[in-house]
């Protein structure tokens, strides 16, 4: 017997790792023995292992050398050594992307996948699908269909999983295998085989039993076949809700063998429940609940987690899920305890009272040796416990906060943030804790979570503003993250001037100018300017500091300082408001685009901001709308907005090119029920004198092809329908858009709102559901949609004015108009505020949309922009 590893390897001084000092070139040299006859399986196997090991270590193989090795390897298919063949499959998979002409092995692999040796068949299918591209797929389609329904479960599973991988590459081809997948999933097939094997058992002598037993085992426990079939079927049908529902019904009734398949089924069911907003009395919910009594912990946990994640779950529906999670809390398995407490933590966010029953179990987990579990337990308790236990838990957590990973520190900070909203009186304890955490070491995400938390505390509790700002000032003294430093400087500029003693922040800000990088220095200069603009007594000293900044080595800092210096010296409130507090209210990508356009069409006129707001202002909407949701703590990217994309799409249609820049695009409005034959939603695009209605239509019938689809609109007011742009063709499940152009009435500027009755008209051609081949002739048909309304909000663009007071002053008294409206139908102030905001579609400023409790008057600041370039600002009080 040849020793597994040659002497050479042992002597290479590689210690106990025979692979440590492998040279790629040496290995490729060795690969030449693949060409020797007879093949030496042992040595070849070892070389293949080395090649795969090198690839695994990230060694780079050039295309030529990889191709050479690959072609040499193909010769090894002549050997019948099982392990060697299997390693060949692995090499093919590993090299599929680096070697050329890998399809050379297609015939060898198809031979193996249809051959007699079951051991080869599954792996051969997986390797084959790895090297198959769209052009080759047709050629192997027949074999794949056969393999999916093969009686050997491992072959069938391999075929199903490989098909799933190929869906990404070629959905249309794989879709044709749905029937085979269905057959594989149904248990009849399996039962027949069980019967056959039992017959074999009876007629064979006992000596054959050792041969039969593995077969029996295969047939009786094809654990994952259904799981894989289910996964593929769902993936192919997920857009067809009816088919998914049918599939669910079938599987939930027949029962499954694999716990994985149950988990998959639970996920599909809960997704369907969420989409259909089905009530919790539906059979799907019953199914999920029944899984709480499954014998596999995996399934029980999946079901509990699905229930917990459902929106609008009542405490009663949660109770059984919570009680199984409670049981898991005392499991000896760390993973199960972790899973349970992680999920309970999630429950506690929305339904703290539902978790109180588990408090005792959670207390026991505080001392868990797995710190992740302990942290989750404490943060859960912080959410469910009473105000009195907060101090004790905070002390406990600070004892090991340094031991846990950054991810969990973020969880702790989030828990504190939630706590502050719940118990505002505790903010001083929290603030202390946070400032201590801020001083510790930690990564960027962690620091940002703390800073965000402190900022939200400051915004919620005015009395904590000064301590909070003081902590943040201390933090930026030694802060390595530019983003956080600029964020804090911006906040200081916004909040600092309005505190009782603004002068103390100046020192912190100016220190930044002296010590930091360019970006931070520039932010510091902007912050300084805001102090100068709002505090007259500080103005002279700010001007002196600005003077120094004008000598800065960086262009941006110098420019900012010069600009602010000049503005401040004018000592005019209106200038200050326009150029220092409220700055530019256009978004950066929008401005970039219009500037680019300007450079493309050189003109005599200078670039005027006033001429572009119509082009750029719509984009600000995107930003301001994100702002309230910014709690998701994602960095706002200056990516092109939704509106930008629409603008580009509309500009591509010749009929709409003369309309001018897009002013505003509305959110999509559904014009059909979600589960009808055709799904239509409408987006309203407002232009200066026209409106374009974009109808996004989806045809959910797979036996129909719709052509020349347009939407007929009947206006109730003096709106005039000018033009239709039909969608040329709507094949099954591929959304298309049809447009209708409407002219706004110009004689009556008050006629802003209008109701349109809509009808979709189209030509139907029946077609074959499988091939999508349509019949030659079709017939006209129509489909009535729901009415579409145009309201005031469609004509108004939101504008964010960070400093509302200054903007109000800037407009001046002569444009002020006062009127009193009585809102009879609303009962609470909060309701009134919400209604006004959504009716007018304007931007609430300075958080004035939040109504403090127990007040009977409230001032709401709204800012917006109307079509003909008029800003208007509304100050309402009740």
């Amino acid at each position: 017997m040849i020793k597994k590893f040659d002497k050479k390897d042992e002597e290479a001084g590689s210690g106990s790792n025979p692979f440590q000092h492998l040279e790629k070139s040496a290995v490729l040299q060795e690969a030449r023995i693949f060409n020797e006859t007879p093949i030496n399986p042992r040595r070849c196997l070892h070389i293949l292992t080395k090649i795969i090991y090198l690839l695994n270590q990230g060694e780079h193989f050039g295309t030529t050398e990889a191709t050479e090795a690959f072609f040499a390897m193909t010769r090894l298919f002549q050997s019948n050594d099982q392990t060697l063949r299997r390693m060949c499959y692995l090499t093919i998979k590993e090299m599929a992307n680096i070697s050329e002409d890998v399809i050379i092995v297609t015939s060898s692999l198809t031979k193996d996948m249809t051959g007699k040796e079951d051991v080869y068949r599954g792996p051969a299918i997986r390797a084959l699908c790895r090297i198959t591209d769209t052009t080759m797929l047709q050629a192997i389609e027949r074999y794949m269909k056969q393999a999916i329904v093969d009686k050997v479960p491992s072959v069938s599973s391999s075929a199903l999983v490989s098909s799933l991988h190929m869906v990404k590459m070629s959905y249309d081809v794989v879709k044709r295998w749905v029937n085979e997948a269905q057959e594989a999933a149904s248990s009849d097939n399996i039962m027949v085989q069980v019967g056959m094997v039992l017959v074999w058992l009876f007629i064979c002598p006992p000596s054959c039993f050792s041969f039969i037993y593995p077969c029996l085992y295969h047939v009786m426990f094809p654990m994952h076949l259904q799981y894989h079939a289910l996964g593929l079927l769902y993936h192919l049908r997920k857009n067809d809700r009816l088919a998914v529902t049918k599939m669910l019904n079938k599987f939930t009734k027949s029962g499954l063998k694999s716990p994985f398949a149950y988990c998959m089924l639970i996920r599909i069911a809960s997704k369907l429940l969420e989409e259909t907003e089905g009530g919790h009395d539906s059979p799907l919910f019953d199914f999920i609940e029944s899984c709480l009594r499954n014998k596999h912990e995996m399934v029980v946990y999946e079901a509990a987690s699905a229930i917990v994640h459902m929106p609008n779950c009542t405490a009663r529906e949660l109770a059984p899920a919570v009680s199984v999670l409670q049981l898991f809390c005392s499991s000896p398995k760390a993973a199960l305890r972790y899973a349970a407490v992680r999920t309970l933590n999630k429950v506690a966010m929305k339904h703290p009272s539902a978790v109180t029953a588990c408090n005792l179990d959670l207390e026991n987990l505080i001392t868990d040796s797995n710190r992740s579990i302990a942290t989750l337990a404490i943060t859960t308790l912080l959410k469910t416990g009473s105000e009195s236990s907060v101090d004790r838990l905070m002390k406990q957590i600070s004892s090991f906060v340094s031991e846990i990973s950054d991810e969990f520190k973020v969880v702790v900070v989030q828990a504190i943030s939630a706590l502050c909203q719940k118990y505002p009186r505790k903010h001083s304890v929290m603030m202390n804790f946070l400032s201590n955490m801020l001083r510790d070491d930690g990564g960027f995400e962690y620091k940002r979570a703390i800073v965000d938390c402190i900022i939200s505390i400051i915004e919620e509790n005015p009395e904590s503003k000064e301590t909070g700002l003081a902590h943040l000032c201390e933090f930026i003294e030694d802060c390595e993250h530019t983003v956080l430093a600029t964020k804090i400087l911006h906040l200081l500029g916004k909040e600092g001037p309005r505190t009782p003693s603004p002068s103390k922040y100046i020192r912190f800000i100016f220190n930044r100018v002296v010590l930091e990088s360019e970006a931070v220095r520039a932010a510091a200069v902007s912050a300084l300017a805001k102090f100068g603009a709002q505090n007259d007594d500080l103005l002279p000293s700010v001007l002196v500091l600005m003077q120094r900044c004008m000598m800065d080595s960086d262009d941006e800092v110098r420019d900012r300082a010069t600009f602010y210096m000049n503005v401040l010296q004018q000592k005019q409130k209106a200038l200050n408001a326009a150029y220092i507090f409220n700055g530019l209210s256009v978004s950066v990508p929008g401005l970039e685009k219009s500037l680019h356009q300007y450079t493309l069409e050189p003109s005599e006129k200078p670039f005027d901001m006033k001429t572009v707001p119509l082009a750029t202002a719509p984009i600000t909407e995107q930003k301001t709308e994100i702002a309230p949701v910014a709690t998701s703590k994602l960095p706002e990217k200056p990516a092109p907005s939704r509106q930008d994309i629409y603008q580009e799409q509309l500009a591509g249609i010749p009929e709409f090119q003369s309309l001018g820049p897009l002013f505003k695009s509305s959110e999509p409005v559904q014009l059909t029920e979600a589960e009808t034959e055709y799904v239509v939603r409408c987006i309203k695009h407002t232009f200066a004198t026209h409106m374009v209605f974009q109808f996004d239509c989806t045809n959910t019938l797979n036996d129909q092809l719709l052509q020349r689809v347009l939407v007929q609109m009947e206006p109730s007011e003096a709106y005039e329908v000018v033009h239709h742009v039909p969608a040329p063709s709507l094949p099954y499940n591929q959304p298309g858009s049809s447009y209708t152009l409407v002219r706004l009435p110009d004689d009556d500027p008050t006629a802003v709102s209008c109701t349109f009755s809509c009808t979709m008209k189209y030509l139907v051609r029946d077609c074959d559901p499988n091939t999508g081949e349509p019949d030659d002739d079709g017939y006209d048909d129509e489909y009535v949609l729901e009415d579409l309304e145009v309201t005031v909000a469609d004509h108004i663009q939101k504008v964010l004015k960070p400093n509302f007071g200054a903007a109000w002053e800037e407009v001046g008294d002569e444009f002020e108009k006062e009127e009193t409206f009585a809102l009879a139908s609303v009962r609470t102030l909060e309701e009134a505020v919400n209604n006004i905001v959504s009716f007018l579609g304007m931007q609430p400023c300075e958080r004035s949309d939040k109504v403090p409790e127990n007040k009977n008057s409230h001032v709401l600041f709204l800012a917006g922009m109307n079509l003909p370039d008029i800003y208007f600002i509304l100050k309402g009080s009740e």
Binding site: N56, M223, Y234, Y301
Partner: protein, 193 residues
């Protein structure tokens, strides 16, 4: 640790890797092309995971937004990685299957040297358990049967050679002692040994 239910999908496993007790990669597979696409990012991630997990055998950790289940044996560390929302028990099932299967083909010698000596079998085991991130099989018995791989029956493996030499030495020592001392002394010596 964002909430949100999982999109129903078979792609459960994001990555699987085996490290030695210095944190060096012995085998690793990444199944999600968006997750750590470059080798450098992968090795950084492995280093980070290893540093956070090799001291305490805690079974489960949450790092860089990933749920990681792990297990160690002598001088080896096995890791299975899934998304933050993934069912932890599914990942555990994969980890257990990997460990049990390897334990069987390596004849319970789940240690670095033995693993490297049978690396081809190890590659095949991983290939049978996970295919492109989809769990193919979770029963170690089935995996071992499909891989059909036996570790070498090599009586003179490094460890056993040492054992044989040690025994031989002890035997000659004992023989010489018989000549020099009484049987009583020999027995006493054995007692001390």
């Amino acid at each position: 640790m964002d909430s949100g239910a999982l999109e129903p999908s078979l792609y459960t496993v994001k990555a699987v890797f085996i490290l030695d007790n210095d944190g060096n990669r012995l085998l690793s597979k990444y199944y999600d092309p968006d997750l750590y696409p470059s080798m450098k990012e992968q090795k950084n991630f492995e280093k980070n995971v290893f540093n956070k997990t090799h001291k305490a055998d805690n079974e489960i950790a949450f790092l860089e937004g990933m749920t990681i289940v792990y297990k160690s044996s002598i001088d080896l560390f096995f890791y299975v990685v899934g998304s933050a929302q993934e069912n932890e028990l599914m990942l555990m099932a994969v980890l257990n299957c990997l460990f049990e299967s390897l334990s069987q083909i390596l004849r319970k010698n789940v240690e670095r040297r033995c693993l490297l000596d049978n690396l081809d079998g190890v590659f095949l085991v991983v290939d049978e358990i996970i295919d492109g991130g989809v769990i193919l099989e979770s029963d170690p018995q089935q995996v071992v049967e499909k891989v059909n791989y036996r570790a070498d029956d090599n009586p003179l493996s490094e460890q056993s050679v040492a054992q044989v030499i040690k025994n031989a030495l002890a035997f000659t020592k004992a023989l010489s002692l018989i000549h020099m001392h009484t049987i009583y002394h020999t027995l006493k010596l054995f007692k001390i040994l």
